[in-house]
C-alpha cells in the first residue's frame, strides 16, 4: 500500500477510536496536515518537473 493511503487510513482509525472531542480534534488536524503535505509535495514535484522541462535551456 502506498504511504499516503496507509497514513490516511491509520489516522482515520485514531479519529474513530478517539474517546473525546479534544483527541478527535487533534487527530483530525494531524490528518489535515498530512493530506496538505502530500498535496503540496505533488504540486511542487509537478512544478519542478515542469520548469526543468524548459526547451529554451536545451
Amino acid at each position: 500500500m502506498e504511504t499516503r493511503e496507509w497514513t490516511q487510513q491509520e489516522i482515520d482509525k485514531f479519529i474513530k477510536e478517539s474517546k473525546n472531542f479534544r483527541d478527535q480534534s487533534f487527530y483530525q488536524a494531524l490528518q489535515d496536515t498530512t493530506v496538505e503535505q502530500f498535496k503540496r509535495i505533488e504540486q511542487l514535484q509537478g512544478e519542478v518537473d515542469g520548469r526543468a522541462w524548459n526547451t529554451e535551456k536545451w
Partner: protein
Amino acid sequence: MKTLVIVAHPKYTESTTQQLFKESVADDENVVWHLITETIDPAKEQALLLQADRIIFQFPLYWYSAPAVLKNWQDKVLTTKFATGSLYSLAGKELGLVVSTGAAQKEFQAGASEQFTMSEILRPYEALANKTKMKYLAPLVVYQFPYLTKIEQQRLFMAYQQYVTNLQFNHFSGQEEWINQRLSQKIEAEQDDKKRLTLQQIQTVLQDNQETLADLTLTASMIKRNEDE
C-alpha cells in the same frame, strides 16, 4: 511563549464559542485566561500584560466593535504613560484578535450586506498595535458559530489552539512543526504499545514529508531564480 487571553464577553457563561475556546487551551500552563469585568485594577492588569509575549483580545462583535467592557478596560489600563509615552511597555509584543460574529463571512465585502471587510472594521485595533509598537496578528474570526458542523468545530478548536500557542501559526511549516511537537506528546502519553508504534510510524511520515517539502521548495526557488537570470 506566554499568551494572555483577555476575554470580553457580557454573556460569557451562555457562550458556547467561549466554552469551546476555553476547553481548547485548558491544560496549557503558558496561557492565561483572563475574563474581564467592569471592575478593573489598572496596575494589576498592566502587570499581566507585561508578563505576556502574545496578547489576545477576544470578544463578540457588537455594532462593529468590541463590547463596552473591553473599551472600558482599554481606556483605564492602556494609559499614555504605560502604552506610549516614554515607556512603550508593550513594544515588541504581539496583538491578536479572536472575534465572533453572527453574520456570514461572505457579507463582509464591498457590495454585500455588511459592506466592509473585517480588516476595515477591526482597523482601530491595528492602529492601537501600531501606536504601541506591537505586532498586529491576522485576526481569527469566527462567523456563525451555531451553524458549524462537528468537523468544522474541531478544526476551529485546533485553529484556536494554534492561534494562542503557536509562534508560527500563520505559516504551513509552522503548523507542521507544531503538530509534530504535539504528536510527540501523544506518543509519550500513549499506553498501548501497538498504538504507540503506529503513531511513531505516522510521525516518521510527517517528518519525512516536512523534509521533502523543504527540499522541493528550495529546488523550485533555485530553478525560478535561474530562469530570471
